[in-house]
Structure formats: C-alpha cells, structure tokens
C-alpha cells in the first residue's frame, strides 16, 4: 500500500487558472519523492492538496489507501515543514514541538519526554525554554522538523524547507534531513525548484511543468534519460541539436550536422530524412585538440567556474553548443580550435 496516491487530480483557481492538470502520482511507503519544477508549475499546489490546505477540483487523494479528499487538515496526521519555518513566535521551543501532541491525548509527562527525544533527533538538545527568535535560521528549521516529526505523522511534507537558508547551511541541512528521513523511514514529499537538492536527496524525482507531470524517475534516470526537452533543459546544462536523420538501425541513428555526422541513440523509430532533436549534456562532450577526427569547432566563450569551465563552442555550420569540462589543466582560450567527441550513448534523440 502506498503512503500517498493521487489519481487524476486537478486544481483550478477561479475559472481559468489551471494550477494542477490531471496528475497521477504515487509516493511509496518510506520513500523520498521530490516535486521539482519552476515556480508556477503546480508543485506547491500539489503539496498543499495532499496537506489539506487546498481541496482538489477533481480527482482523488489517498493516504495509506484511505480517500482523504474530505478529511479536514487537522485530522490527516501529516507533518508539514514550511519554507519560513512557521514556528509560533509566542511559544517556547518546548511548546512549539509539543504543540501537536496536546491534541493527541498525550500526558504532560510523556509530551516533555517526546519533545526531548525529538530535539535530540535534530541535534538541538536542551533548547526547550528558548523562543524561536533566539535561534538561528538553521536551528529554527530543525525545530520545525522536530515539531512535524514528533507527532509520528503518516507522511512528511516539506515545502521548500531549504530555500530560506544560506548556501553552506543548505547543504548541511540537506544531508541532515535525508539522514533523519532514512532513519525513521517516513514517506516524504519534498517540493523544490533546486535541481541539486532534488538529485541529491530523492528516491524519485517528479519533474513538473505547467501543472502537468513531465517525468517521474530516479534522479539518475531523469537526468540522463530525459523524456522531454523541458526536463533536459531544466536539469543541468543540455544542448539541443537539430538535424536530419541520414541512417537508422535498431536504436541507433546518424544525424546529419552540416558536413558531419552525429551518432545518436533513440528509443523510438525514426525515419531517414526526419528532422529530429538530439539532446547532449554539456559535460558529456569531450573537448580534444584538433586533428583527432571529431566534430571541429571553435571556442567562442569561456565561463570560469573554479573546478569547472563552461565553454561555448561554435561548430562549422554555426551550431552553438555548451561544453562543461573539469579543469585539470588551464582552461581553453577564446578563438582556439577544438574537436568534439561525444559517445553515441549520450546523444539521445527526443
């Protein structure tokens, strides 16, 4: 039985805003599922429907097999962590973390025990008597996590919990949240627009765009085998090369690129003469010195990124490509001629 299931769920705001468009989604028990997409893609609305903060216009939402469309939020037994923490500023940390237990017939003694245990879990023991404003942003976020988990919810919902933190802290919290989630094995739905967070934390990534689900899969699967141009461009640096198919045979195809040919793979039937788009990740392109028999090109621009450099390469026919190379040696210079080699398995026809 899945922790959360959405079937044919749609959410309309007013008459003409379609926030979520007929989506199906399952969150297996104990798994970490990330809803990833740009702002306005419907990921937050989806989370809020599971939470009970919005009600779906159509479709059914089930938690542990029970239809919960008509169950009010306070009877759903969910743990929610909000982007801005939403700790009650007028209550102590103990009262914040113990808040949910008050409504679950837990004795005062037991509440303070469980609060202490929850604070241990987020590695902030002993802060019971402080107020939220006295803690740092990262600490407040840990308290918010403790408050959401202490009630032993059926599902943990995280609404961009890291975006209010600064970069270093964000990575630390990312690991922390993931560890806690794995340890207690709670099904988690995580909403983010940050591909790095999505790839690093998730068991399944759900890429959303314009209210629809574009693709669902393990992080590596979604990254390496994008089903659509949107997924390819939203995750990482992708190149889209348009050309005509010159030859094709069982999953392989040759795509013409001016005078040259790009060997590509495909999981659909393509016709000779068909115009196709080939996706190539920037880091999958090998940049070699001239004279090695690859695609010739010229370096048009260099972005120095520290550990990496991002190059813009212009091919003979004017096609522009992004290349990403680790900097073991000094970076290439603008105007330099290079040759590109791309493993056919990394050239995928959409």
């Amino acid at each position: 039985m899945h922790a959360v299931e959405l079937s044919q769920v749609t959410k309309r705001f007013g008459h003409n805003i379609l926030a979520v468009d007929n989506i199906d989604l399952t969150v297996p028990a104990g798994s970490f599922v990330t809803l990833l997409g740009p702002s306005g893609c419907g990921k937050t609305t989806t989370l809020r429907m599971v939470a009970g903060l919005e009600s779906p216009s159509a479709g059914e939402i089930r938690i542990k097999g029970q239809r919960i469309n008509d169950v009010p939020i306070h009877r759903r037994n969910l743990g929610i962590v909000f982007q801005n923490y939403a700790l009650f500023p007028h209550k102590t940390i103990a009262a914040n973390v113990g808040f949910g237990l008050k409504y679950r017939n837990v004795t005062a003694d037991e509440i303070s025990k469980r609060v202490a245990r929850a604070l241990d879990m987020v590695r902030l023991p002993g802060v019971e008597d402080r107020y939220p404003q006295q803690l740092s942003g990262g600490q407040q976020q840990r308290i918010a996590l403790a408050r959401a988990l202490v009630i032993e919810p059926d599902v943990l919902l995280l609404d961009e919990p890291l975006s209010a933190l600064d970069a270093n802290l964000r990575e630390e919290m990312r690991v922390e949240i993931k560890n806690i989630q794995r340890r207690i094995g709670i099904a988690t739905v995580f909403v983010t627009h940050d591909q790095g967070e999505a790839l690093a934390m998730s068991d399944h990534v759900v890429v959303m765009n314009k209210g629809k689900i574009e693709q669902v899969g393990a992080p590596r699967e979604v990254y390496e085998h994008p089903h659509s141009a949107f997924v390819a461009s939203f995750l990482g640096n992708a190149n889209f090369i348009t050309g005509q198919v010159r030859a094709s045979a069982d999953g392989h195809a040759q795509v013409g690129l001016g005078m040259h040919v790009l060997n590509a793979t495909t999981n659909r039937r393509v016709q000779v003469g068909e115009t196709v788009t080939v996706v190539v990740r920037a880091e999958k392109i090998d940049l070699l010195p001239a004279g090695q028999g690859g695609l010739p090109g010229t370096v048009a621009d260099v972005d120095y990124l520290g550990a990496l450099a991002r190059y813009q390469i212009v091919l003979a026919d004017g096609t522009k490509l992004l290349g990403l190379a680790s900097l073991k040696d000094k970076p290439l210079t603008v105007g330099q001629t290079v040759e590109l080699r791309i493993d056919p398995k990394h050239c995928r026809i959409l």
């Binding site: 939470a51 009970g52 903060l53 009010p72 939020i73 306070h74 009877r75 759903r76 037994n77 969910l78 743990g79 929610i80 909000f82 801005n84 939403a86 700790l87 009650f88 500023p89 007028h90 808040f99 949910g100 008050k102 409504y103 679950r104 404003q133 408050r147 959401a148 009630i151």
Partner: protein, 267 residues
C-alpha cells in the same frame, strides 16, 4: 554652491513653517491646560497664582462626575462590542473569500467618511422609524458604528502582515479551527486588538456631534456637558474639565500605538 544654499534656506523655511503649525495646533490646548491651574476667579489671563481649586470643584460636582461615568460606561461598552465585532469582521475580510467582500469592507469604513451630522441624523431617523427613541442604547449603538472602522482597520493590517503559515502549521499539527484561533491567531493579533480597543475608547470618549443627536435629554457625556456649561457661562472649571479630556483622548491612542508597535515587532 547656490544649490546647497538654496536647499539650506528651504530646509530652514520648512522648519519655521512646521514650528508655526505646531504652535497654532497646540497653543490653544496649552492655554486651556495652563489656565486650569489659574488661582483667580476668571477663566482668562492674567493668571493670579497656581491653584488646584478648579480640579477640586470638578470632582465635587455631581453632574460632572455623572457625565464622566456615562462617558466611561459608554466608551467601554461600545469599544467592547466594536472590538468583538471588528475582530471577527477583520478575520473574515482577510482570511476568507466571499461575494461582496469589497462592498462590505467599504461599508464598514464608511462612518469614517460620512459627515457625523449626516450619520447622526440618519441613525436617529432610522431608529425612530423602527420605533426606537433616543436612549442610552441608541447612543451605544451609534458609538459602536463610529468606533468599528478603527478596530477593523487596525486588526486587518495586523492580519495581513501575519503569515497564514502559522495557522496552517497549527491545523496540520491537529488543532481544529477554534483551537488554532485561540492558541495561535489570537495571541499573535492581540496587540492589534488591544490597540483597536483603545482607539475605539478614544473615539467614543471625545465624540460630541453625533452624540448630541442620539442622547436622551438629561443624559450628558463629558463633551456634551462641556458644551452645555459653555452655553451658560465660561467658568474656569471648564478649563480643568477640558484638560482631563485632553489627557484621556491623547493618551489612549498613544498607548494604543505604542502597544501595537511594541508587541508586534518581528512577528
């Protein structure tokens, strides 16, 4: 160079002008308060020594004490009703979507814009039509209508600034709507509620125009009492009474504003 000179002159003129405005505004008030301590029998300059005799007389005058009592009961009564209704109205206007929301919002703040004379006559005639006559009840109802917009506006502003996440978090943790209101919303907006209440008290306490239309003959509030006394004679007692009024009506909104700012910081 000339630009800085010009701007310095402009600044100087602006300062002068501001000082003049304050003098015009506050000099009469200062005069009233000063003369309330006058030792002579006349309520005017020159002053002959300091004395608290007018205050003593004031507090020995039963009809004035009666007016104070009426004013205080009226102010507290109408403010309690206006606060209770106003808080509910503010929550509805900020947290819920419903038809005619803008219309209702405008309607609530209308008493701020309609001339009080018009409002006074209107309520008087309307209630007469309904068979209700001038009474303390009408006065209470009228003052409530006058004070309501202040409560609604203050509480509304606070609610808009209060992220809904707090309430959503409480709901998600298992508190129902009533428990969420009691445990989270109410404590977080309480400074605004208190502020709105104090504004309402001040509005009611110094209202005279509308009060003259609504009060039953024989019932006097402090402002109508002063008005009545002025018609017969200018007694120095009025200066003392005026000073007390000034203190109450200036102090209350000040305290209100202070409370709102002091307790809503960082929330």
């Amino acid at each position: 160079m000339s630009a800085t000179l010009e701007s310095r002159a402009a600044l100087w003129l602006l300062g002068l002008f501001s000082v003049a405005v304050y003098i015009f505004q506050f000099a009469p008030i200062a005069v009233v308060m000063l003369l309330s301590f006058n030792g002579s029998r006349s309520g005017a300059f020159p002053m002959e020594g300091l004395s608290l005799q007018w205050y003593e007389k004031l507090f020995a005058n039963d009809s004035i004490l009666q007016a104070f009592q009426t004013s205080i009961v009226l102010a507290l009564g109408c403010s309690l009703v206006a606060t209770a209704v106003g808080v509910m109205a503010a929550i509805a206007l900020v947290r819920y979507q419903f038809k005619a929301k803008n219309g209702i919002s405008t309607l609530i703040s209308l008493p701020l814009l309609v001339p009080e004379v018009v409002l006074g006559v209107a309520l008087l005639m309307f209630l007469k039509l309904m068979g209700v006559y001038r009474s303390f009840g009408m006065l209470l109802l009228g003052h409530t209508v006058l004070a309501l917009p202040f409560v609604v506006l203050v509480v509304q502003a606070r609610l808009v600034g209060l992220r809904q996440n707090f309430e959503e978090a409480a709901l998600s943790l298992g508190a129902n709507r009533l428990q969420t209101f009691r445990e989270v919303t109410l404590p977080l907006i309480s400074p605004a509620i208190l502020g709105g209440f104090l504004f309402a008290v001040a509005i009611s306490f110094d209202n005279i125009t509308a009060t003259l239309f609504w009060k039953k003959p024989g019932i006097e509030t402090v402002p109508t009492k002063i008005f009545a006394m002025l018609r017969t004679s200018i007694s120095p007692e009025i200066n003392a009474l005026g000073s007390v009024m000034i203190i109450v009506t200036i102090l209350l909104p000040l305290i209100g504003g202070f409370v709102v700012r002091r307790f809503s910081r960082g929330r």
